[in-house]
C-alpha cells in the first residue's frame, strides 16, 4: 500500500470521522436516556430521576458541543479530498448531507436551549417535551447521515447521465436497500454504547459511596435497557448480514474471509487471510455453521472472493478482524448483561462488589464496537465509494499530491490529539463531581453559552 494522495486521503477521512463518530455514538443514546429520565420523573415524581437527569444533561452539553465542532470539519472533507465524488454524486447525496446539517441546527435552535437551561423557566411537561424533541432530533440527524451512507453502499433511485448520478426517485434514494437495516443496527449500537457508559458511570458512582441512590438508578436503568437492546442488536446484526449477502456479497465474503464459494460453508472463527495466495493461514473452522448463520440453512451457498475480480475485492484481513472484534464485544456485552440480571434476581447485584467494580471498565466497549463495525462496513465496501459504480480511486481530488495530504493529515492528527484528551479530562471532572445537590443549579456554561431562555423573566 503506497502512501499516495488516495491512501492518505482515506486515512484522513477515517481519522476525522472516527473521532467524530464517538460523539454522536454517545450523545444519541444519552439524549434518549435524558428523555426517559425526564419521563420517569414526570410519571413517578421521584427526585432521584431529576438529579440523575441533570447530571447527564451537563455531560451531554459538553459532548454535543464537541460533536458540533468536530462535525464542522466533515462536510468540507467532501470538497477538499473527495471532490470527484462531490461532482459525480452531489446531485444525489448533497441534499441528504444537507438535511443532516439543517436538522441538527434546527434541533439546536429550537429545543436544546430549553433542555439545557430551561428547567426553572418552563413547565415540567414542556421541559420533558424539549428532552423528547432533542432525542428525536438526534435520531433525525442519524436518519439523514445513514441514508447518505446507505445510498452509497446500495445505490437506488438514480440514473446515470454522462457518468454522473441524477436523482429519479427520492423515496428510493432515501430508503435504499441497506438503509432500514443500517439505521436500525447503527442506532441500536449507539444506544448500547451510551447505556454501557451509564452502567460504568453508575458503577463508579456506587463505588465512591457518595451518591449511592443515583448510582443504583443508573445501573438499574442501564441494565434494563441493555437487557432488551443487546439481544435485539445481535438479531439486527444478523438481519443486516443477510442484507449484505444479498447486495454486497464481496463484502460478506471478506467478512468471512471466504475465498471459495461453498455450500455448505463452514464458519471461520480465526485465520490469517493471505490475499496473495488467495487462501487462509491457520484457519479454525466449524463445519456448516457459516451456512447456518449467513443463509439460515445448513446447506446454503456462501459466495467466495474468487468469484470477484481481484480489483473488485475489499482488503480481507481488516474487514475479517474488525468484524470479529465487533461480534466478540457484542457477545461479551451479552455476558455482562446476563450476569447482571442473574445477580439481580438473586438479590445480590449491589452486594457483588467485584461485579460493580468490573462494570466501571465497560465504558469503552461500545465505542470500540462502533469503530470496529464502522471499519467493517467501510473497508468492506472498498474499492467503491458508490458501490459497484464509482471507485474510491476515481473519487479523490485529482489535484492533490501525497505531500499535500500528508501535511493536512498531520494537522488533523495534532488537533484531535490535543482536543480529545482535554475533552475527556473535562468530562471526567464532571463525572467526579457526581450528581450532587449543586448539580440542580442550572448548568451554565461556555461554548454553549447560556441560551436565551435562561434570561427569560422567571
Amino acid at each position: 500500500m503506497a502512501l499516495d494522495a488516495l491512501t492518505l486521503s482515506r486515512i484522513q477521512f477515517a481519522w476525522v470521522i472516527g473521532w467524530h463518530i464517538l460523539l454522536p455514538a454517545f450523545t444519541l443514546g444519552i439524549a434518549s436516556y435524558i428523555a426517559l429520565l425526564e419521563g420517569l420523573h414526570l410519571g413517578t415524581g421521584r427526585e432521584v430521576y431529576l438529579r440523575v437527569s441533570n447530571f447527564w444533561i451537563r455531560i451531554f452539553a459538553v459532548a454535543f458541543g464537541m460533536g458540533v465542532v468536530t462535525g464542522v470539519v466533515m462536510p468540507f472533507q467532501f470538497g477538499t479530498n473527495w471532490s470527484r465524488l462531490s461532482d459525480t454524486a452531489g446531485n444525489v447525496i448533497g441534499p441528504l448531507l444537507a438535511y443532516e446539517g439543517i436538522v441538527a441546527f434546527f434541533l439546536e435552535a429550537a429545543f436544546l436551549g430549553v433542555l439545557l437551561f430551561g428547567r426553572k423557566l418552563v413547565p415540567r411537561w414542556a421541559h420533558f417535551v424539549a428532552a423528547v424533541m432533542v432525542a428525536f432530533g438526534t435520531l433525525l440527524s442519524s436518519f439523514w447521515i445513514l441514508a447518505t451512507n446507505s445510498w452509497m453502499q446500495t445505490p437506488a433511485g438514480y440514473s446515470l447521465v454522462d457518468g454522473r448520478f441524477y436523482p429519479e426517485n427520492w423515496l428510493d434514494i432515501v430508503f435504499s436497500p441497506s438503509f432500514p437495516y443500517r439505521l436500525a443496527h447503527t442506532v441500536t449500537g449507539f444506544y448500547v454504547t451510551a447505556a454501557f457508559v451509564v452502567l460504568g458511570v453508575g458503577a463508579y458512582t456506587i463505588r465512591r459511596g457518595l451518591f449511592g441512590q443515583e448510582g443504583r438508578v443508573m445501573v438499574m436503568t442501564a441494565l434494563t435497557l441493555l437487557g432488551v437492546m443487546v439481544p435485539l442488536q445481535i438479531f439486527l446484526g444478523d438481519q443486516h448480514g443477510l442484507n449484505t449477502r444479498e447486495y454486497q456479497p464481496a463484502k460478506l465474503a471478506a467478512i468471512e474471509a471466504r475465498w471459495e464459494t461453498a455450500s455448505p460453508a463452514p464458519l471461520t472463527l480465526f485465520a490469517i487471510p493471505d490475499p496473495a495466495a488467495e487462501t487462509n493461514r491457520y484457519p479454525i473452522e466449524i463445519p456448516y455453521l457459516g451456512s447456518l448463520i449467513l443463509t439460515h440453512s445448513l446447506n446454503g451457498t456462501v459466495q467466495g472472493l474468487k468469484d470477484f475480480p481481484a480489483d473488485q475485492r475489499p482488503p480481507v484481513a481488516i474487514v475479517f478482524f474488525a468484524f470479529r472484534v465487533m461480534v466478540g464485544i457484542g457477545f461479551l456485552m451479552l455476558g455482562i448483561v446476563a450476569l447482571g440480571w442473574l445477580l439481580y434476581f438473586r438479590r445480590r447485584l449491589f452486594d457483588t462488589r467485584w461485579y460493580i467494580w468490573a462494570c466501571q471498565f465497560t465504558i469503552p466497549l461500545g465505542f470500540i464496537a462502533v469503530l470496529a463495525g464502522w471499519t467493517t462496513t467501510e473497508e468492506g465496501r472498498q474499492p467503491w465509494t458508490v458501490y459497484g459504480l464509482l471507485r474510491t480511486a476515481d473519487s479523490v481530488t485529482p489535484s492533490l499530491t501525497a505531500h499535500d495530504v500528508m501535511v493536512s493529515l498531520l494537522f488533523y492528527a495534532l488537533a484531535y490529539l490535543v482536543i480529545y484528551p482535554t475533552g475527556v479530562l473535562y468530562l471526567l471532572r464532571l463525572v467526579r463531581k457526581g450528581p450532587g445537590k449543586d448539580a440542580i443549579a442550572p448548568p451554565v456554561e461556555a461554548g454553549r453559552a447560556e441560551l436565551p431562555v435562561a434570561r427569560l423573566p422567571s
Partner: protein, 337 residues
C-alpha cells in the same frame, strides 16, 4: 423544465449569497473580537470581550456549515472545483475554528488554565480570519480549471493578492468586532474600541482601494464589466456611496450613537460584497463556470428547497430572538455567566 430550473438556480443563488453574508456579518464580529482580544488594555476588558460574544458565537458559526452544505447540494460542481483549490486555507481555517471552539468551551470551567484558553481563542480567531481572507483573495483571482476539475496545484492559492486579502479581512473583522464592542460595552473599553475601530477602518479602506484597482488591471473582464458603456452609467454610484459610508463610519467611530459604527461597517461590507458580485457575476467559479453550469439538477435543488424554506425561517427567528434577549451592555463582573 428549463424555466423552472433557472428559477431554482436563482433562489439558491440568493440563499447562498445571503448565507455567506450572514456568516461574514455575524461570525465576522466574534472572530474580530478574537483578533482584538490580544490587544485589549486589561484582563478585565478581555473578560468583558469574551462575555460579549459568549451567548451568540456558536450560532454564528453554524452559518459556515450551512453555506458549505448548501453549496455542495445546490452547486456541486462549484464545490468540487473551489474547495480543492483552497485546500490549505480551508484546512487551516477548520483546525483554527476547532481550537477556538473548544477553547471557548473549556475556558469558563477551567480557571487554572484560563489564560491559556484565552490565548488559544485569540490565536485561533486570528488564524481563521486570515485563512478566510486568503480564500476570498484566491476566489476573486480565479482558479485553473480543466473540464470539471480544478487543475492547478494546492499552492496556487498563495499569491501576493491573497496574502493581502488575508490581512485585509483581519482589519475587516476587526472593524466589525470593534463595532460590536461599542454596542456592548461602555466607558474606557468602549473608548478603546472606537480607537481600534478607526485603525481597522484605515486598513479596510486601503484594502478596498487596492482590490478595486488591482482586479480590473489583472482581469480584463472585470475592467470591461465596470468601465464599458453603458455599465458605467449604472455602476458609478457604487464607489461613490462607498466613500460616503466610509466618511460616516469615521465620524461614527469618533462619537455618537453606539449602534452606528457597526451599522456603517455592515454597509461597507455590503458594498464590497456587491462590488465583488458585480465583478464576477454570473460566475460561481470566477471567470470559468456560471451558476447555471454549476447547478445541481432541478430535482435536487427543489428537494432540498422544501425543507430549507421550512427550517430556515425558524432558525432565523430563533437567532434574532436570541440576540434580542441578550441585548444591552455587558460588564466583566456581572455577565451572562
Amino acid at each position: 423544465m428549463a424555466t423552472s430550473a433557472i428559477s431554482f438556480v436563482g433562489i439558491w443563488t440568493v440563499i447562498i449569497a445571503a448565507g455567506v453574508f450572514f456568516y461574514v456579518l455575524l461570525d465576522g464580529f466574534d472572530l474580530g473580537i478574537g483578533v482584538l482580544h490580544g490587544l485589549a488594555p486589561s484582563n478585565a476588558d478581555r473578560e468583558t470581550m469574551m462575555r460579549s460574544v459568549a451567548p451568540v458565537w456558536d450560532g454564528n458559526e453554524t452559518w459556515l456549515v450551512f453555506c458549505g452544505i448548501a453549496l455542495i447540494s445546490a452547486f456541486p460542481l462549484a464545490f468540487a472545483v473551489i474547495i480543492p483549490a483552497v485546500y490549505f486555507p480551508i484546512l487551516v481555517m477548520l483546525v483554527a475554528l476547532v481550537f477556538r471552539g473548544v477553547a471557548f468551551e473549556f475556558r469558563f470551567d477551567d480557571e487554572t488554565h484560563r489564560a491559556f484558553w484565552d490565548r488559544a481563542f485569540c490565536f485561533g480567531s486570528t488564524v481563521a480570519t486570515f485563512a478566510q481572507g486568503v480564500v476570498l483573495g484566491a476566489f476573486i483571482q480565479g482558479f485553473r480549471v480543466t473540464g470539471r476539475q480544478f487543475s492547478g496545484t494546492s499552492l496556487d492559492f498563495l499569491t501576493p493578492f491573497s496574502i493581502m486579502t488575508g490581512f485585509a479581512l483581519l482589519f475587516g473583522y476587526g472593524l466589525l468586532g470593534s463595532g460590536w464592542l461599542i454596542i456592548k460595552t461602555e466607558g474606557a473599553l468602549q473608548a478603546w474600541a472606537r480607537r481600534a475601530g478607526r485603525i481597522c477602518l484605515i486598513g479596510v479602506l486601503a484594502a478596498i482601494a487596492i482590490v478595486s484597482l488591482w482586479t480590473p488591471i489583472i482581469e480584463p473582464s472585470i475592467a470591461a464589466r465596470w468601465f464599458s458603456f453603458p455599465n458605467i452609467l449604472f455602476l458609478w454610484p457604487v464607489p461613490l456611496i462607498t466613500c460616503a459610508v466610509a466618511v460616516w463610519e469615521w465620524r461614527a467611530l469618533g462619537g455618537g450613537a453606539d449602534a452606528a459604527p457597526y451599522a456603517a461597517a455592515v454597509l461597507l461590507f455590503l458594498l464590497s460584497y456587491l462590488g465583488i458580485a458585480i465583478s464576477l457575476w454570473p460566475m460561481i467559479v470566477p471567470h470559468q463556470i456560471s451558476i447555471w453550469d454549476a447547478a445541481a439538477s432541478p430535482s435536487t435543488q427543489s428537494f432540498l428547497l422544501v425543507g430549507t424554506l421550512f427550517l430556515l425561517p425558524v432558525i432565523l427567528m430563533y437567532s434574532g430572538w436570541s440576540y434580542w434577549v441578550f441585548r444591552g451592555k455587558v460588564r466583566s463582573d456581572v455577565g451572562y455567566h
